[in-house]
Symmetry: C2
Subunit: 213 residues, 2 copies
Amino acid sequence: MDKNLIQSSGRGIPDIVVGRLPHYLRALQHMALEGRRLTSSQELSERLGISAAQIRKDLSLFGEFGKQGTGYQIDFLLDQLRQILKVNQVWDIALVGAGDIGSAIARYQGFENRGFRVTMIFDSNPNIIGSQVGAFVVQSSMEMVACISAAQIRIAMLAVPAVNAQEVADRLVGAGIKAILNYAPISLNVPEDVHVQYIDPVIHLQRMTYYLD
Amino acid sequence: MDKNLIQSSGRGIPDIVVGRLPHYLRALQHMALEGRRLTSSQELSERLGISAAQIRKDLSLFGEFGKQGTGYQIDFLLDQLRQILKVNQVWDIALVGAGDIGSAIARYQGFENRGFRVTMIFDSNPNIIGSQVGAFVVQSSMEMVACISAAQIRIAMLAVPAVNAQEVADRLVGAGIKAILNYAPISLNVPEDVHVQYIDPVIHLQRMTYYLD
């Protein structure tokens, strides 16, 4: 569980609201790709399984984005959400771990036009260092801190074994990383000003089996 | 966004509480592996970044699991949480998509002892069908519905391109699937009684960039 879930942002927006914004952005990007120009909180509600009232309330915390009767202009709302989430720029990402998951991330096409690109990948395994993964040559994790510091990268994705994850996270924090997306199935301890999100498929699966008969 | 987030379970437990239980379970499993026998809501709080009061309140919804002063017996609490989340059994999973992400999932070691095992993997690409991925031979997605129905599998992981995801999800629902973990960056429409959770790294990254300067 990341501490975001019990935090509010400095601007007083509850983190649970912040957590829904990327879902709105993704849905709007799909609509834009479909050539659509207008949408409504009702339509977003149907696509996302979030009530229309909740969507209107969430968006109203950031400004007046829609008009009653005409709904939301997709391009305008996209721009606004990208600004709010600070993905009206492209963030460089350092990827640590070039095993199965790291390699899949390195080749992942889903970052495009969404504010992120992987720019370096590290591993500690001498058999993997120097090999090509997607568009990248795997660098030694000995160079990790220096490379990340020099490039002033703020975001890392962590795809190393659970047993190594905390130690790598400590070094990433030392290199200036402020946001870690962790694929290792273990909770990380990081300073207050570092954000962590987790990707652990079992957590999601267990949340669903609760409801199965 | 999965509809679980705005649902309560039939037993009246808010889904947000259900969503925290797998995190408690994972932390307790790590403690058990470390040879530990007792823990406290304070220790869990430090590991998870959730307040000790919240942890005590969440667990108290399901029973009396700890004693004031002595804390929680790890083995007992593990057993209880496994029962509550229904992972005191092993659930078979059908994996759809044998590309980079699907292959990484097929080889993922993190399911072990956590209630799940992948038992079949499907793809529609004739060049991939019949090839070996981890311990599995990739089967044709033409056989998917029949195989899943015959094996009475309830859980699927979806690692196909976004453009195919809804169509595959519809067929999975037709085959009797009740829980889908979707890696495709698109929201799925499913019947009320089908649970969906999403793994989309960009959603997590965007939730963190909101807080970066």
